[in-house]
Amino acid sequence: MTPTVAPLAEELAQQLGAERVLTAPEDLAVYAYDGTAALRQNPACVVFPLTTHEVAACVQIARRHRAPIVTRGSGTGLSGGSVPMEGALVVCLNRMDRIIELDPRNLTIEVEAGVVTQTIDEAAGKHGLFYPPDPGSRKISTIGGNVAENSGGLRGLKYGVTRDYVMGLEAVLASGEIVWLGNKCVKDVAGYNLRDLFIGSEGTLGIVTRVLLKLVPQPQSRMTMLASFASLEAAGDTVSDIIAAKIIPCTLEFLDQQTIRCVEDFTQVGLPTEAAAVLIMETDGHPLVVAEEAAAMAAIASARGAISVRTAADDVEANKLLTARRSAFSALARVRPTTILEDVTVPRSELAGMVAFIAASAAKHGLQIGTFGHMGDGNLHPTFLTDERNADEMHRVELSLGEIVDRTLAVGGTITGEHGVGLAKKPYLRQQLGDHSYQLLKLVKRALDPEGLLNPGKIFE
């Protein structure tokens, strides 16, 4: 039974109205990608529901037509999570963008899945609160996508990742049923913690339509510093020393020379383009503690031979530095046509060795790799600067990538710290998990989505 496309779109149009159902070739072509390089597949249809019930109706209709469903927000994912498969229905939630409730007595905010991450932080800010997870694309990424990918960001070291802020969520299951998991209680052990099962499930277990988030008080003050180094090792050792000194800064970001030059080219914030590496370090909290920690970090950097340590004069300069860092991945695209971003993460004690290994692998295979990342939490983003139309070079990229993955796993790391498996990291998942854990994942998938309707072919086959 192979139902044709037209009836699916027709039925959706009857349910939602034709203006929210797209099937024109010009529309399908622009939902063929997300923020991941070199992946492209047109869907069969794109639909824009406005309510959870409409999402449920879309799922029922897709199910009848056996059309796989790909959930999408703003399409900024970095592992191909929202790249469609053939014949897919893209359920785009970017119009479900209402803030339902901000509860200052319980420090929570409830939002629809399509609300932009930064909008949540801004809404919280009006009450002296803040929402810490800050993925690089926070200006446009949606909270639904953040939950589906369990996104991290620059503040993960001290504040954790999206998972640490989700108190509850609403999801539409493959059956079309709607479930609410979690609540405003700080403690809750009633039954399995299924809420956490959906966080980071990459749209394969259900469609997250609403999220209840924890907010925290805004820190009273913060201090942001830029330290530059003549070697990668000195930067890596500085990070290790800071952690060993029992300082947990809010941000410890690393950029190598290639990345520094690209970012500086775009932002012109005054990064030292001759340095081998820089660290962007930020501490926040009580002013006295901030001053003490900042001084200690600066001293550690100097002791490790930092060429210079500059402190941002004010919030404006601090934000410029952090914004510059957030642009790193895209800025690297200035160098070569194709930019392949990796997300390997290692225990922090292994950082310096891992950075050196990546540089050596690049040299060995004659490749350009720009490396940056969240040094403080061991999350590195080695980025291949290459050309997808050069088959020979792409082959060498694969070889180098394989080596980096092997090394990462050998030192107890993970293939993805915050981007998700999606399509991009799928070939390496089994290697990391081992057969039994890998099968367990599949077992969970089959239990929740026996027909393989939701984002099939992502994470695993």
């Binding site: 797209l22 024109a24 070739p25 010009e26 529309d27 072509a29 622009v30 939902y31 063929a32 990608y33 997300d34 923020g35 390089a37 824009f48 703003s74 399409g75 900024t76 970017n94 119009r95 932009v116 694309s137 200006k139 446009i140 990424s141 970012v263 080219d265 775009f266 642009s327 790193a328 991945f329 895209s330 800025a331 695209a333 200035r334 046509p337 194709t338 930019t339």
Partner: protein, 447 residues
């Protein structure tokens, strides 16, 4: 179709530069409006790439989307990957025209009479301007409007008629001598480009530009008859005509004898700085175009670069001796801000004017909907953006609105006309305020 498909013959790496990260989405006014990916910069670039790859034809939907784009270039400022969206859009629009995807006799006639005819013949354009002035001054325009004759026009023409700007005489050639020298010995020699719209509608801005240049030790060369820079043509897919006009401009000036070529229109300047790219395949002109590009400056950019002289404090005070501060707000011209990356300089000029208090305008980096001929081609979206802009301007409480491009000034004046919120708001170019401040110094007439 004798030539190659423009998108297919474009250097593919320009298209590949976009790695669809999505950083442009929140800065795009049309994506903000529709929330459809195809109305976003990233989506449009993908459509262009589909055409270049031969997976998609240049369809009417493709043409609509390229027309719906404002070309405000806010996406270029936002793009970490450095995608040259302006070039992509010009070529996409060029391909739409080359394949005659969009028809209609009225559209063709309008494009021909403006792009191919009037805006290529400076003397004729001025003659047309003079005729318009007579028509408006003689009372014929208001008379016809009173009689309701305009209702007989087709809808689009009626809209255009209502927006007909008021021609201001005399034109720049009667206001500025071909060579003007400063009182003190000249430190620089610059050419002043008087523009087309600027010349017909905003002659006083050109005069003010010459004045501030003179006050800053610049000898000003202003040929009495100048050619259109071709930005109107390039932005609307007429690249051949644009190249032709660029060559004429290059022929008109001895670039080696000039320290700078001054533009006071954001839209023109943005195009004027890209002659080398426009003429990249022209062996005769390419090198000269490069030299030209390096010398083109927006007037604010140039003044800040040479260290603009701060006007002496004005003596304007009220009866109690308190200084009267005029509040001014600044709306950035998109092509000045995003196209030329001239952001801080106009603000710096306004801040150095005594008696002026600068108040920030929310979303001053967001298009006002003028966008060249956008108010004519996309009146609905243009009106929405204008309304949004006017609300922000009202919120500043400023009595003066300054902006560095005639298209924006015209759009804002049109929007404010008849709106009681703006009964006492003046719209002007930053250099006019600066010129007035210099004039006040010498006790001259305060315009």
């Amino acid at each position: 179709m004798s030539e190659l498909n423009l998108l297919k013959s474009l250097d593919y790496s320009v298209l590949q530069q976009c790695m669809h990260c999505g950083m442009c989405l929140p800065t795009c006014p049309t994506y903000d409006e529709t929330k459809f990916e195809r109305s976003s910069p990233r989506g449009r670039i993908r459509l262009m790439r589909e055409v270049a790859d031969g997976r998609l034809g240049v369809t009417s939907t493709f043409a609509e989307e390229m027309s719906y784009c404002l070309g405000c270039l806010a996406c270029q400022t936002a793009c970490p990957a450095g995608v040259d969206y302006a070039t992509l859009l010009e070529n996409a629009r060029g391909e739409v025209e080359r394949q005659h995807v969009v028809g209609g006799t009225a559209r063709r006639l309008f494009r021909w009479s403006t792009l191919s005819f009037l805006f290529r013949r400076p003397r004729l354009l001025r003659a047309f301007g003079r005729a318009m002035w007579l028509y408006q001054r003689s009372g014929l325009q208001s008379g016809l409007r009173r009689l309701g004759v305009m209702k007989l026009l087709p809808k689009q023409l009626r809209l255009m008629e209502a927006m007909t700007p008021t021609v201001v005489v005399p034109f720049s050639n009667a206001r500025i001598a071909p060579l003007e020298t400063p009182k003190s010995p000249a430190n620089y020699r610059v050419a002043l480009l008087t523009g087309c719209v600027q010349d017909l509608l905003y002659g006083p801005i050109n005069r003010a530009t010459a004045d501030v240049l003179l006050a800053n030790g610049c000898e000003v060369v202003t040929p009495s008859v100048q050619f259109c820079c071709g930005s109107l043509h390039a932005h609307n897919g007429e690249l051949k005509l644009a190249r032709d006009l660029a060559r004429r401009n290059l022929d008109l000036y001895d670039v080696d004898e000039l320290d700078a070529i001054i533009s006071n229109a954001g839209g023109c300047g943005s195009h004027l700085k890209k002659y080398a790219e426009l003429l990249h395949a022209d062996e005769r002109y390419h090198a000269r175009a490069g030299a030209w590009d390096r010398k083109v400056r927006d007037v604010s950019e140039w003044l800040v670069q040479i260290g603009c002289r701060v006007p002496a404090t004005a003596s304007s005070s009220d009866a109690q001796g308190r200084t009267i501060a005029t509040t001014v707000t600044y709306d950035a011209s998109c092509h000045l801000m995003h196209g030329q990356r001239v952001v801080a300089q106009p603000l710096a000029l306004l801040q150095m004017i005594p008696g002026l208090r600068l108040v920030p305008l929310v979303e001053s980096d967001w298009c006002c909907g003028s966008a060249g001929v956008y108010s004519i081609t996309q009146p609905e979206q243009s009106a929405k953006l204008l309304a949004r802009k006017l609300d922000h301007i009202t919120a500043t409480g400023a009595s003066v609105l300054a902006s560095g491009n005639p298209g924006c000034l015209l759009q804002l004046e049109n929007g404010m006309r008849g709106d009681p919120r703006f009964a006492h708001v003046r719209v002007c170019h930053p250099v006019e305020l600066l010129a007035e401040a210099y004039r006040r110094e010498s006790g001259g007439y305060d315009g």
